[in-house]
Structures are given as C-alpha cells and as structure tokens.
Subunit: 350 residues, 2 copies
Amino acid sequence: MSGMVKKNYTRPIDFKNGRIDMGHGAGGRSSAQLIEELFVAAFDNEWLRQGNDGASLSLPAGRLVMATDAHVVSPLFFPGGDIGCLSVHGTINDVAMMGATPLYLSASFILEEGFPLAELKRIIESMAAASREAGVPIVTGDTKVVERGKGDGVFISTTGIGVVAPGIDIDGAYARPGDAILVSGHIGSHGVAIMSQRESLAFETEILSDTAALHGLVAAMLAAVPAVHVLRDPTRGGVATTLNEIAKQSGVGMLLDEAAIPVLPQVEAACEFLGLDPLYVANEGKLLAICAEQDAEQLLAAMRAHPLGADAARIGTVIEDAHGFVQMKTRFGGRRVVDWLSGEQLPRIC
Amino acid sequence: MSGMVKKNYTRPIDFKNGRIDMGHGAGGRSSAQLIEELFVAAFDNEWLRQGNDGASLSLPAGRLVMATDAHVVSPLFFPGGDIGCLSVHGTINDVAMMGATPLYLSASFILEEGFPLAELKRIIESMAAASREAGVPIVTGDTKVVERGKGDGVFISTTGIGVVAPGIDIDGAYARPGDAILVSGHIGSHGVAIMSQRESLAFETEILSDTAALHGLVAAMLAAVPAVHVLRDPTRGGVATTLNEIAKQSGVGMLLDEAAIPVLPQVEAACEFLGLDPLYVANEGKLLAICAEQDAEQLLAAMRAHPLGADAARIGTVIEDAHGFVQMKTRFGGRRVVDWLSGEQLPRIC
C-alpha cells in the first residue's frame, strides 16, 4: 500500500456516484488517491501513514502465530454484517483459535471495475470499525482492480499475526479421550443469514449473522483455564466438519449429544425450510473448545460470563476411536455418524 | 488451511483433466482433499502438515515487518514466470525492501469454478519451487472458489513477515539531498513480457519477465552498507512512479540521468512498438536503492557482485525540492519532469 503520502489531487474522488476504474489499480496517481483518501483515512494508523510497502512492527516476546483468510462472501452485505467486518473477524478468530493475542492485520483487495465507490466506502468503514473495536490495526495492504466480469465486486484477503503467551499450548491435535467438547453459543446463524438474503427469504424473525471477533472471549477462557486443549471456530462446513477435522488431527472419536447443541428456533425453522442441517452451516462468531473433563465446568462458566459466550453449552465428549468418527446421540435416543461436509452445501458463505 | 490431516478419499483428484468445482471451496471433504494432495504436498512443511487454521512460528529478536500483495496478473503464465512464482517473489521483495529478512509467507487463493486442475498444479508447483529456492516457507493459507464468470482463473494474495536486524533502518522517508540513486539492473522487462504475451507479439529476441526474489541481493547490500537509506522495488507504475512516491515521502526532489538508466535494447524496441515508456513499466526483480554519496561506490560494487545486481547502475541524485519533483536530464541534454503514472498504462501487470 505504497503512495500514501499527502499529495494534491486535481479532482476529488466522487464517493457518492463514482465507480472503480482500472486506473485505481494501476499503481499510479489514481491508485494513490484512492488509498490515501479511503483506506488510510478509514484505517487511520501510524503504519499506513508512513506510506511504505510494508509495516514495521514491534512484538512482545512469545511464539508468533500467522493466519490468513480469503473472503468472497456473496452477497457483500447481509443481515448482521458485510464482507468488511467479516474479513476482520474471520482472521482475528483464526489467530485467536491458536491461543494467540491478535496484534496486527494486513488486507488485500481485489476490486471489480465498475464497483460503486459508495459501497466500497461502506465496506472499508465497516472494516475500520471492526478493527478499531477489536483493537487490532490494519497495518499494511494492497489493492488491485480487475476488469468488469473478471471479479465479483470485492474480494478481501486478510492476514493476521499474534503472539501466544507463555504456558498456552493449543492445537487441533490435542483432543484426548474423556475431554469435554464445548460450543460458545447458538450455531448456524451466519450461514442462514447469508442464505436467506441470497434467496430473498423473509422469515418472521430476522436472522442475523453472528460475525464477531472472538479474541476477547478466548482471553477470558484462557485466564480461567490456561490448559485448554483445542480451540477452533466452526466456519465453512460448520460444527460437523470442524469436529471431524479435529478428530482426525487428534486421532480420536467424538460423541455429541444432539439435544445439547444450541440452535435458535428461527434458525432451526429456516434450516428446515432451506433443507440445511445446522451442524453443517457456517458460523462466524462461535468457537468450539475442548478441555479436560475436570476443567469443563470452570471453562463453561468463564464462557458464559462473557457476552459472546452467554449461551455456551457442553455438547459432547471425546472418545477413543481409531477411525476418528464423530457420532451423535440423537434426540430420539439413536446414534448416527456425523460425517464431513461432502459437497458444496453453501458456496461463498465467507 | 485446515483439514490437512491424512484421510482416505474415495476418488483420486484428476490433475490431468479435472477442473475446479464449487465443492473445492466449500470447506468439506473435497476442499480438504485438494489442500492435502496439492497445496500441502507441494509446499511441504511442518506448519501446513499440522493442519491448524494458522501457523505457530518462532522468530529471532528484532523489529517485525509485515507486507501483503494481491496478485491478479493476466495472463497467468508469461515468458519467464507465472502468477505462482510472482506471488512469492512480490511479497518477499516487499518485506526485503523494509530491510528485513523474510521468514514466512501465507497464501490465499481465489479460484474460479471450471479452472483446469492441471494449470492450478503448475502454478502451485511454481510457487513451491520459488518458496524453496528463496528459503521462505508458505506456512498457512486459505482457498475459496467463486462461480464461473465471477473470477479469472486464479488470484493469489500473499503476506510475508520478516525481521529487521539491529542497526538497519530503512524507510521511504529517508532520502536526503545529495544521496545517490541506484537501480539494480535493466528496467521494464516484466511489463513488456506480460504485454507481449497479452498482445500475442513475437519479438526477435524473447523478452522474459525479471521476476525474482531480491532478499539475497538486499542481504549482500546491507552487509556492505548497513546505512542504506531507502530500498523499494519499482513494480506497478515503474521506476518513475516509485521515485515519485519516495520523493514525496522524503520531501525531496530527484534528478535522473536518462543515459544512465539501463534498458535492454529489445525492451526499448518493444516499448517503442507498444507505445510505452520503460520508466513506467513494472519490474518484478529490480530494486531502487538510495544511500549517502560516500557509500554509493561501495553499494554499487556490492550490487554488481550479486547475480541479481550484475547490471546495477547509478541513475541519479537526490536534490532539494520542496515540490518533490522528479526530473530527468534527457539524452539530448534537456530536462523534463518525470511525473507519476496517471492512468492505467498496464492493468493487471502483477
């Protein structure tokens, strides 16, 4: 994101009726103006103001964590959020799920020629607000423009770095038989919010995306139980796929209790209507935590004491299983295997 | 890039005739298979094999640098390179231009439905080779798929982090009147290679992109002259735009000597044919360096001793100028102002 030094531009950017053109991505004067008057103005921090091609940062001691996410959600604006705040939350959450305190973000934008500048401004301001609220600045970035019909409005890739405090050691491979499986709240809201918007469905109660930055919740959890084994946010593929990933990484099985899995009634109804299983629907503000049985109550209490974990619940137990199956005790008392998401249940959900 | 643990997949991926489908981006089994059998296999390192949503890294002491680049180059394959190696080189170079040793990369992919897997494999293998050669591993990533007509084959965003050794302090704001301006070699090759491919032009001598990772050259330069003031790679917008950026950041003017600027004869001829000015054409394996006059000879010698700086030259001098103009003494003895790139000379050049 170079060229961010104050210059005098001959024409102001028309943020009301203007549109992205190829020149905004060519690296010249018009790129510099867009970056300065939109991105640097909104993200407003010392690193961007320096106008170098990268950011020079200071870090506390500790192991470093790096995570990245491409965001291609469609539609760009949805009930409860937009691609801007989502791209901040998603990457902060990936860093936090490694037990790290997220410190800095980078953002790269691929804009489609003809995209309305007013919408871009809304997205950037939403990103800036999410970054400010989370206390994680966007310190460097890049912007490219592709021709009309070669993109889809805006794609945003964000990368986050953070530091793990000494004594914290979290990994998808650390689930052990006997461990408790917790979820931080009601599942499925993000995916259903997107789908209802996409299908122009209006449900009686509006369903909002749960998009949120979870690093505050994680900090509260680790303060209460530093020995948490696994943290992961069940985004694409939902709780079912995420637990299958962890089961494979750890070489264990899992037994879930269907009745214990929190789903809002309106999300359950919408899922039925849309032919979706909430277990496979993406979340953007929920986490799964796995910890030793003796820590479960304390961890659950810490989660419930945080606004983003108020509806946390214990939903199952890690069991021995060389095949790494995730099973579920159904509401009717039977058992079924909860497999990986196999197809494309919800494309472009994040 | 989660779900990278060995699983048994029912069908092998058809890397010869297969194509990207929406399921490859949905986060389920087919995403996991693509990541495991293509990305993790090619990039092959401990962090990706761990299969978490991020990478846990160790870092030597020093200031941290973070830089990011979105790559949307068209065509994806061009003489001398492809989007894969370009996306590795581009971000390594942004980190190196801050005076840092690049240590880790992340990569996020936006794939278009229907994109041939054989081409994706070529690109990933080129990235892997570039990363191996540079000694900078790709430690985490993400893959999304968009519908046919909503992308353009492959977009790759890479983010790099690195560490600045104590005593090194490089910044675009550090150019001082009297400083020497050096370039590491012939300019304009990347842009002309792309344009000739795009326009299906065949010149007598094939013009190859100069795409290369410059951190080795930078290390050699800083070993010789730790007090380098400014480093920057003249990518989009070329040498002219990059020098204008630095002039503004530092609040100085520049006086270039046209006769001293190295341009290969075939690049000069192609530029004439295409109506381009090599000063505005993107480079992907060149750098500009600015240092004190008394260090210039030693720095130039260090550059010339490195294979990527063999044709390095001194091209000008920093002068006092409150307006921050970049001027050039032309071959005919006149002077002209070298302005910023103002339009979209070469869209999607990187």
